[in-house]
């Protein structure tokens, strides 16, 4: 009996098993439950580490000139999928570490949050491995719905509940829009397998399908017209699930759109590219301006994250391997920004010191660790050189120029300038050494480790630009050839 499929599904299996263990800890916890909550965090980390190691093993076996792709029906393991196999668990582990202190917000439901996080990570893996339209939708739903539901784990007031219900409703509607777009594609191509969609000629229906697909998937990240909705996540609800959702969704959405658009449909001018470019441009014009108008840090960071995520769409329209590699590098750089934001904004929320401009002023002098890292985060969000996000923006802008979309590149540059201005304004306030104010508590050990890893990634991805782009370029081979 051939049991190799057990090995092929091992990453997914490990993640789902971890989810079951964490859910069991939620059920089994006693009235206090402190031990179970603590155990649940380390169990989640252990399962994520195991999944990461398994995926690295896969990756090593596929480094040859002809990767040994594995296919089980609509489940495919190729180099492209393996990139997300490694990135997904790593991102989730960083989220668990950085959000460790902030999990106190979830009261007794930390094990359930960990379970949902592991399910969402499995969703990232599934989305990256999807070989047909159905499994893409399932994968995306597995990421989006658990993270939307996790926001309801703290039932503190009616406003929080309303926001959670709204979040679940919007997420469900977006998934329905995505499903509708897939249905149109399936109708146009008379098939659901991605390989059989490649010959679709440009048409109005194709543009509508692209619109639904992009809004249905990237809308979860806050692209136009859902920018305000996304930025509002975590305001009256727990912050950890909101930002964790953004990190994991950015991976899943990038995987889905790369598989679907340049991968399955190809970069035909006049097909889906115009629709995607228009949505990207609208988001890039709106999000940084909204960030500029904020007087509180959380929404400003949220809008800047949305603007960064919108660059995925700009990179999508780029031709060939380099364009896809640029998107993968961009996504890789986005994850440590979200995790660092989680740790620092979480510390501020726990300290109840407020996140207005006046509360932030002089933070670097009062709390050098959090202030310094917040400065690093803002510099990254603003795309300031020499951080990795600067190079990611540069690669994406060059990609759109190579695609002949000079106007989109110009919009991206304009957005970069406004984002940089927003970041610099907050940076000046944070680094104002004359200001007085309260100190933030020193983070716990787990959060400290997560912060160190995030900071190392924010700074180190610049130095590792060449190797990371090499990995991304190897991963970019597969979706373009089609599964």
């Amino acid at each position: 009996m051939n049991l190799s499929f057990l090995q092929d599904f091992s990453t997914l299996g490990v993640l789902l098993l971890g989810a079951v263990v964490c859910a069991a800890l939620e059920v089994l916890q006693d009235a206090g439950g402190a031990r179970e909550r603590h155990l649940s965090r380390w169990a989640a980390l252990a399962f994520l580490l195991l999944a990461f190691l398994v995926s690295i093993g896969f990756w090593r076996s596929s480094l040859g000139p002809a990767p040994p792709d594995v296919e089980h029906g609509s489940f495919l393991i190729d180099r492209f999928a393996l990139f997300f196999y490694a990135a997904g668990p790593a991102a989730a582990a960083a989220i668990v570490l950085c959000g460790a202190d902030l999990e106190a917000e979830l009261e007794l439901h930390q094990p359930m949050y960990h379970a949902l996080l592991l399910v969402a990570t499995a969703g990232v893996v599934l989305t990256a491995s999807a070989a047909d339209l159905g499994s893409l939708l399932v994968g995306l739903a597995l990421v989006a719905l658990p993270m939307a539901m996790a926001q309801g784990l703290r039932k503190i007031d009616a406003a929080g509940l309303r926001r959670t219900a709204r979040s679940v409703t919007v997420t469900g509607s977006l998934l329905a829009a995505f499903a509708a777009g897939e249905a149109i594609l399936a109708g146009l191509g008379h098939a659901t397998q991605l390989t059989r969609l490649q010959a679709l000629p440009p048409s109005a229906l194709l543009a509508v399908a692209a619109l639904l697909l992009v809004v249905g998937s990237a809308g979860q990240l806050g692209v136009f017209p859902l920018t305000r909705w996304r930025a509002g996540q975590g305001e009256a609800t727990p912050l950890a699930p909101a930002l964790a959702g953004l990190a994991l969704l950015s991976l899943a959405v990038a995987a889905a759109l790369l598989r679907l658009l340049p991968g399955a449909l190809g970069s035909q001018p006049g097909g889906w590219t115009l629709t995607v470019s228009a949505i990207a441009a609208a988001t890039l014009l709106i999000a940084p301006v909204l960030a500029w108008r904020q007087r509180r840090l959380l929404p400003a960071v949220a809008y800047l994250l949305v603007a960064q995520a919108a660059l995925v769409l700009v990179g999508l329209v780029g031709p060939g391997r380099p364009g896809t590699a640029a998107v993968l590098y961009l996504i890789l750089g986005l994850v440590p920004m979200v995790t660092a934001a989680l740790a620092i904004l979480g510390a501020m929320r726990l300290a109840e010191s407020g996140d207005g401009l006046s509360a932030i002023r002089g933070l670097a002098a009062r709390s050098p660790l959090q202030g310094g890292l917040l400065a690093l985060l803002l510099a990254a969000l603003g795309g300031l050189p020499p951080l990795a996000s600067f190079f990611a923006r540069l690669l994406v802008v060059e990609t759109s120029l190579q695609a002949g979309l000079g106007w989109l590149a110009a919009v991206a540059v304009l957005a970069a300038i406004v984002s940089a201005a927003v970041a610099l304004r907050w940076l000046l306030a944070i680094l104002d050494l004359h200001a007085e104010g309260p100190q933030l508590d020193r983070p716990g050990r787990a959060t400290l480790l997560g912060l160190a890893l995030s900071a190392a990634a924010l700074a180190g991805f610049t130095v590792a630009l060449g190797p990371l782009m090499g990995i991304a370029a190897r991963a970019a081979l597969a979706p373009l050839a089609g599964p």
């Binding site: 590699a325 050189p385 690669l395 050494l433 630009l465």
Partner: protein, 508 residues
Amino acid sequence: MPSDISLTLIVFAPLVGALIVLALPARTDLERFRVRTTALFATALPLAVAIFDLLGEVGNPAQGALAQPSIDAPWLRGFFFQMDYHLGTDGLNLMLLFAVTVVFPALVLASWRQRQRPRSHFALLLLTEVGLAGTMATQDLLLLVVFFWMPVLPLALLVGQGQHPRAAEAARRVLVSQSLGSAALLLAALLVLLRTGNTTFNFTTLSTVTPLQGAPGLVVAALLLFAFGSRLAVFPLQRWLVGGLEAASTPVAMLLVLSSVPVGTYGLVRVLLGIDPKGALQLVLPVLALALVTLYWSALAALGARDVRRATASLLVGVGGPVLLGVITFSETSLSGALWLGFATGFFGPLLVLVTGAVAERGGEGSLARLAGRAGGADRLRLLYVCAAAGLVGVPFLAGFPGLFQVLVGSFAQHRFVTALVVAGMALLAVAAWRVGAALFWGGPEDEAEVERVSDARGSEFYAGWWLAAAIVVFGLTAGYFIPYTVHGTDLVAARVSSLAPAKVPGK
């Protein structure tokens, strides 16, 4: 040829120093002393490497013509463009890089009495050195963009730390103007890449591809002129420097000068002329006008200034005039002169700021009228001022003279009228420098009994001043040894521009 590691050490040793400084405690006097000595060591190491590993190159002037690659490692491959970690020296950058390494120990010495937040002060100072040294050392345009922006935020933060009421406003101005300049440089780099169809940012390659023609060339040249002109603080982009010098503490003001004229001059020669000579040829008349306006604005503003710091800032802006004239004349001699003037400004600029800043700080105010004669007993400060001002106005045997002389000689055949006006402008600048010096050191207070005299330079401040003054004298006396290397460095740039406009531009 420099060894593989030397330029990397010069550029990144201060970064390591900054990280160590940030990690050190600074609660007691002993701990603060450790912070200062660590910073001094972090700036002395690049200087030692530069002396022992770089300066030997100057002995063979022919080597100045081509970049001697110290390290050239691929950084980004497999994309639409390539990027390299490429550091190297040639006649265009070696002396300027050397100036950066020489001046930073003096800046640390000048900051020796920094009592408020010494860790952040020295760390930001060292980060600025990384940016300045990297800008000078890199042979890759994209890397230059990164290094060019790198000192902007540390500079703005350092200016913002000042006690002056307008420190925050000055910091914002530094940040905005220099960020816009960096954005213009990045935009120009992207346009060059797009319009030439080139896939590398390597300076050697960029200086050999077919240059941009027509409107794109003009747009790129205008962007580059804005980027480097803003850093050079030419009129009307000088407000960030003047405001910064007025509001910042003395060591930070010295740093502002070092990051202004040398970097702007180098950028204009290396990038504007190196990669967009056609565009530069279209800008001759506007740049000549800019040179004159900058010089005369500077001299008149210095003559009319009532504040000693503002007068000093105005005097230093004037250097942009001859620099622009030297750059836009395109001859080897004038280009070498412009670069040497940028090099010399790295010494006399900070020294001038150190002396006038010391008088203003110890006098407790900036008003020239109220400071009149109060430094009359400060002989060391007086001598240092004379040295710096003489360097500025181009007195022979001091570091400023070879640069100014080469600019005027190199430009005279091409732009006689403008050169004559520049000579007149320099004379006016000399009068302004005399007015400031005379007011501070030779004028008498109205009521000597009531006015407290300013004490003389001593300790670390004295050492910093003498370090810079020694550099002005030493490089003034030995210029003949170094200049042939710089002249060879300008060979290719001048030849390329000459080949594109043979009828208008004289060759060698």
